[in-house]
Amino acid sequence: MSTLVDINHVSMHFNTKGQTFHALDNVNIQIAEGEFVSLIGHSGCGKSTVLNLVAGLLQPTQGGALFKGREIAGPGPERAVVFQNHSLLPWLTVFDNVYLAVERVFGRLEGKAKLMARTHEVIELVGLAHAHTKYPNELSGGMKQRVGIARALAMQPQVLLLDEPFGALDALTRTHLQDELMRITRDSGNTVIMVTHDVDEAVLLSDRIVMMTNGPAATVGEIMHVDLPRPRQRLELIEDPRYVHLRSEVLRFLHQRHAKAA
């Protein structure tokens, strides 16, 4: 498989109030097409910064972030982002929020009927067909995040970027959405980069887990392959010794070797 995203010797400095904050130091990650990669680490380790670099919302201070071998110059719909706090526009209905993305990406090629069909299709995919006329503040947190995922999927991106997508949800809703995300990415074969701090989520969903050291000047500490066969079943895995081993490896990394002073 060819490399889709190449984060090459990237360092990142932020200038705030005259002070320079060294966020990332010499980060190297290569992600192949069709791969599901999780970035895990303590809060403040710069994992979201890595995601924003791929999204094009940030530019690296040193090194290069490449997409299909070309420098990422700015954001674009081929690298769709599901934001942490869903970022739905509160004055648009579920349908209109998704349609805004569909129209932007396919509006020049397709007629209105086709665009609307696409929108309905992707809303149905995330199980919200019954709620497409609702406004975001009428939805639960889980439903909002589904709309966020639908909007990103509607762009038919080449890589899906998830920034702690289920972090704000309760545990039951979270597991439910994780299962659905597994189903959707299996069917679509999407490349996914997900930022998370949930160890189970990372092991369950990922092909590889990128574990990051603590900031400032965070970097890649270790990359772990998750060679569990797919499709994966949550209930079967919890007693699977390979799963348990992988899970404890990540925990050991986070809480022993790179424990964070609270």
Binding site: P75, G76, S87, L89, P90, L100, V105
Partner: protein, 302 residues
């Protein structure tokens, strides 16, 4: 000049009565429907009715007592101040005044309805111009410039009047100019503030989608800023209505403000008190209308 100050301070006390005069009928209308909705069990109906009556009394009684006390103080004060007419005298003058509000007996002698409409027209023109200029200006400042709240706002509204007179050389455009220049600032400042405080998340969505500048405006900036704009308009209209009275006192012409000044010269205090009530009531109605419109356009209510 001291007389002007006195006249302006006076309206504050008698203004509130209009508030309660409007409120009670609404409550009275609600009560019967509540009682009618629970007829099955007689006892429960009776109890809920008495609860409803209690609630209405609690809402109505304090303000009613308050206004009765106010009228009492007014009547008492009138007995000791020979030039201040009492409530009864004022009420009688109001009856004659409102019996024919739209008469025209000459260029300077018209009914109170015309006076009010003339003032409202000036406010409408000045305020409309302020919206037309202030909102786009606010958008530009909020999107492209450093927001300077100080600007020219702290200047007293009437200080602008000589500038208007010098430029327009006529009373009416000058009054409109003063309305324009004083009601524009809340709109500019609030719109700019609204644009500057659009959540970065929404703008990131726009960036990921690579929306055109026009789409960013129609789908994100405008709806996100609308509540701020409406606040600016509400404040602007409130200021405009306060300023028009003072501006008309100085510029003359037909209008409620000049009428107050005219009746002061005639020593017709009844009409001045009535004018104060009218100004208060109209100001309240304008404010209520703007609040209604604002809540209609606020996405947080949808």
């Amino acid at each position: 000049m001291t007389t002007v100050v006195n006249l302006k301070r006076e309206p504050v006390t008698p203004e509130p009565p209009t508030r309660s005069v409007e409120a009670p009928p609404v409550e009275v209308e609600i009560r019967p429907t509540v009682a009618a909705a629970t007829p099955p069990v007689a006892a429960r109906a009776a109890r809920s009715r008495s609860v409803a009556v209690d609630a209405v009394m609690l809402r109505i009684l304090p303000p009613v007592l308050g206004y009765l006390a106010l009228i009492g103080v007014w009547a008492l004060a009138a007995q000791h101040a020979p030039y201040l007419p009492g409530p009864v005298k004022t009420w009688q003058a109001a009856l004659t005044l409102f019996s024919d509000p739209f008469y025209v007996k000459g260029p300077n002698d018209v009914g109170v309805g015309w006076l009010l409409l003339n003032s409202l027209k000036r406010v409408a023109v000045g305020f409309g111009l302020a919206i037309a200029v202030g909102v786009p200006l606010g958008f530009m400042i909020g999107r492209f410039m450093f927001l300077n709240r100080a600007l020219l706002r702290p200047v007293s509204p009437l200080a602008w009047l000589p500038i208007g007179l010098a430029v327009f050389k006529a009373a009416d455009p000058s009054a409109i100019f003063v309305i324009f220049i004083t009601s524009i600032w809340p709109m500019v400042i609030n719109t700019a503030l609204g644009v500057a405080s659009v959540p970065q998340d929404y703008l990131n969505v726009a960036r990921v989608l690579r929306l055109s500048e026009w789409k960013v405006f129609t789908k994100i900036l405008f709806p996100a800023t609308l509540p701020y704009m409406m606040t600016g308009m509400r404040l602007g209209l409130g200021i405009a209505w306060l300023v028009i009275v003072a501006a008309e006192m100085l510029t003359g012409g037909i209008g409620i403000g000049f009428w107050i000044w005219d009746e002061w010269n005639n020593l017709n205090m009844e009409h001045i008190i009535i004018a104060i009530f009218i100004v208060g009531a109209v100001g309240l109605i304008l404010e209520q209308c703007m609040t209604l419109i604002a809540s209609r356009f606020d996405y947080r209510n949808s």
